[in-house]
């Protein structure tokens, strides 16, 4: 990108003219080194104190957090002093990078360590290294594999949601009155918290005795509308609630895509005498493919985190039929306090979905190249 290079060049040229003197460079480096030494010292003291090798230290690890913050600030100062314009530019991304590294990289690796320990919060023994025991347990845990299978079902449910969302987007894109009202009404489910939705729909509207949806189902001839007692019906009920919340998300993206399409194309098709059906499949749909793919991929990524509704409506039941991986692990943590094993399940799941997403993206990009 030439403009980007030009900007970089301009701001570094400025740094040269403003003159980063040699002493400033030295001072900047000194600040960084000093701060790093200070930070390392605080960490070391705390580690030694924690291990019982030092008699004095801090009450908890909070000072290490402050030390990290100070180190980050000093690093910023030092970079500006020693690098001039480049330092200024680095300052834009530095806070986000330091924040994310501290909040993600460290916990993920720490999680890997926990995953290989035998650690139950409710037992007295505390943390013990247990090697691959958790991993073996994982492979022979039928409930975990069941939850993974359910995830396949939930991810596949994204496709019907996509079809409905596309239909709604087409409706909203038609020439209609009160479009603003319909747009807001259709968007509202997305705004509501899944926990509230769990109660509103799962626990009251679908309630067996008095829920309006159950009454409607009785009226339509289903004698005992129990939405959460038989495995497949429960699974579909959860998927329906999830669809209710998430269809607006895809609908909004697809509607924006439809509105960005050039108007002349569909008019030209009309002049050529193509029916609405033909012009949709031959013009609109192919042009909408990139937006569709983005919407579906994002939706799948969010779907893989599905948990709140399941936790609050069925707690995974009946017999694990509606369990998602996240809700299963949630119960492992909260009800069984099984920290080591739960973390192993989570890390394994992370690896599975990273592979899945990478394969999916690779497959999509190959497919898109083939049809273009």
């Amino acid at each position: 990108m030439p403009s980007k290079a030009a900007l970089s060049a301009l701001s570094s040229a400025q740094a040269v003219t403003s003159g980063v003197s040699q002493t400033r460079v030295e001072d900047g480096r000194r600040i960084i080194i000093l701060a790093s030494v200070g930070f390392a010292a605080v960490v070391l003291i705390q580690i030694l104190f924690d291990g019982g090798l030092l008699t004095w230290g801090f009450e908890n690890w909070r000072p290490v957090l402050y030390a990290y913050l100070m180190w980050g600030i000093a690093l910023g100062f030092g970079l500006v002093m020693s690098r001039g314009g480049a330092g200024h530019r680095a300052l834009f991304v530095l806070p986000a990078v330091l924040f994310t590294v501290a909040m993600v990289i460290f916990p993920t690796f720490f999680g890997l360590y926990i995953a290989f320990t035998d650690w139950n919060l409710s037992s007295f023994e505390g943390r013990r290294f247990s090697g691959f025991k958790n991993l073996y347990a994982l492979f022979s845990d039928p409930y975990y594999w069941n939850a993974l299978q359910n995830m396949v079902f939930y991810v596949l449910m994204v496709l019907p949601q996509y079809v409905i969302a596309f239909g709604l987007a087409l409706l909203l894109n038609a020439e209609i009155r009160a479009r603003k009202f319909f747009r807001v009404a259709f968007l509202l489910p997305f705004m509501l918290s899944p926990v509230a939705v769990s109660w509103m729909i799962g626990k009251s509207l679908m309630e067996y005795r008095f829920g309006p949806i159950s009454n409607l189902a009785r009226l339509l001839g289903w004698d005992s509308p129990a939405f959460f007692t038989s495995p497949w019906i429960a699974k579909v009920s959860i998927a329906l609630m999830d669809a209710w919340v998430w269809i607006p998300f895809m609908m909004v993206m697809l509607l924006a895509g439809l509105q960005a399409l050039p108007k002349e194309l569909s008019e030209a098709a009309k002049v050529d005498g193509a029916s609405k059906w033909q012009s949709f499949w031959q013009i609109t749909f192919p042009l909408m493919l990139p937006v569709s793919v983005t919407a579906i991929v994002l939706r799948i990524i969010f779907q893989l985190k599905l948990a709140d509704i399941v936790i609050n409506v069925t707690s995974g039941g009946p017999g694990g039929a509606t369990d998602t991986v996240s809700s299963f692990i949630f119960r492992e943590y909260r009800d069984r306090s099984n920290v080591g094993y739960g973390t192993m399940l989570a890390e394994f799941y992370l690896i599975v979905i990273i592979i899945f997403i990478l394969v999916l993206l690779h497959w999509i990009s190959r497919w898109m190249r083939k049809i273009n």
Partner: protein, 301 residues
């Protein structure tokens, strides 16, 4: 003559039938979207007999009653008195507001800076180029909350951040940061670089060009990112359920903890749910434009 008349008649009949189908579908879906909200809102004014007999329309088949709102101390006759449920509710409400607003603000500030940098300059951190840094941020989106949950529980315990608002704010910032960066990078990419080039030639520093020239233009994008972040944080349940217990508990956790215990006591649950979703409905109605802008960033070129 008669023939053309018949033809236009045919076309208009087809036109009207298609209109009927379109509006029928639109109204059907609007009912599907709005009925649960309507149901929750009206149920908060019902008493047991209205619930069991499935009464739906206020004043027609049931008389509204303040019972649900009285149970959380927010009905007109209890609002002046001291009420423990109300204090509890207000505390959770305050926690939710503070956690979501602060997390969204923090994410927008550091996310916008990062997005601007990535959209304008060429970085080289070791082997990482712009593309890799962007990917690094966006890849956080894939990370499911369960992976971070336990390490954070342990980490927060050591840092004495368990059950504090600061702890929640930090983790919420982390969860919305990739979305903010995604939206803001898209926003900055649409602003021509000539604007800052002129400023840089005039002797502005990169930061003052960013703050004085670009930020005001990018404000709509920042508002969109902020609102979307607030919604996501407000609704977050997973981390709040695991990392808070008494003092920093948020509204979704409170709602969830009540669902099992109430039995057929639907009116108070309905009142609680209504109070929890009301702010979002207001945001949805008045700021829909920004939410749509946030959701569609980057997907439509």
């Amino acid at each position: 003559m008669g023939r053309t008349g018949a033809r236009t008649g045919g076309i208009s009949a087809r036109y009207f039938s298609s209109r009927i189908v379109i509006y029928g579908l639109l109204i059907l879906w609007a009912i599907i979207c709005l009925f649960p909200i309507y149901w929750t809102f009206t149920t908060s004014f019902k008493v047991a007999v209205n619930v069991t007999q499935g009464h739906l329309i206020p004043w027609v088949d049931f008389t509204p009653d303040w019972r649900g709102w009285r149970s959380i101390g927010l009905s007109p006759d209890t609002i002046g008195e001291t009420s423990t449920p109300r204090e509890e509710f207000l505390k959770r409400f305050e926690n939710s507001i503070i956690a979501s607003l602060c997390a969204a603000a923090l994410a927008v500030v550091i996310g916008s800076c990062a997005a601007y940098g990535l959209s304008r300059f060429n970085y080289k951190f070791g082997p990482m180029r712009n593309k890799d840094i962007s990917f690094f941020f966006l890849s956080q989106l894939i990370l499911p909350p369960v992976v971070l949950a336990m390490p954070f529980l342990v980490l927060y315990k050591e840092l004495a951040l368990l059950d504090t608002r600061i702890g929640l704010i930090l983790i919420y910032t982390l969860t919305v940061l990739p979305i903010v960066i995604w939206i803001m990078r898209d926003q900055f990419d649409t602003i021509p670089t000539e604007l800052e080039q002129a400023a840089l030639v005039d002797g502005c520093s990169a930061w003052s060009a960013f703050l004085r020239i670009i930020l005001p233009i990018a404000l709509p994008g920042m508002v969109a990112a902020f609102i979307l972040s607030v919604i996501l944080c407000w609704n977050e349940y997973f981390f709040a359920a695991l990392l808070t217990s008494t003092s920093a508990k948020t509204l979704p956790v409170m709602v969830a903890s009540q669902t099992g215990s109430q039995g057929i006591n639907w009116w108070s649950m309905a009142a609680l749910s209504t109070a929890a979703i009301l702010p979002l409905i207001v945001i949805g109605i008045f700021l829909e434009r920004y939410i749509v802008k946030g959701l569609t960033a980057g997907s439509v070129k």
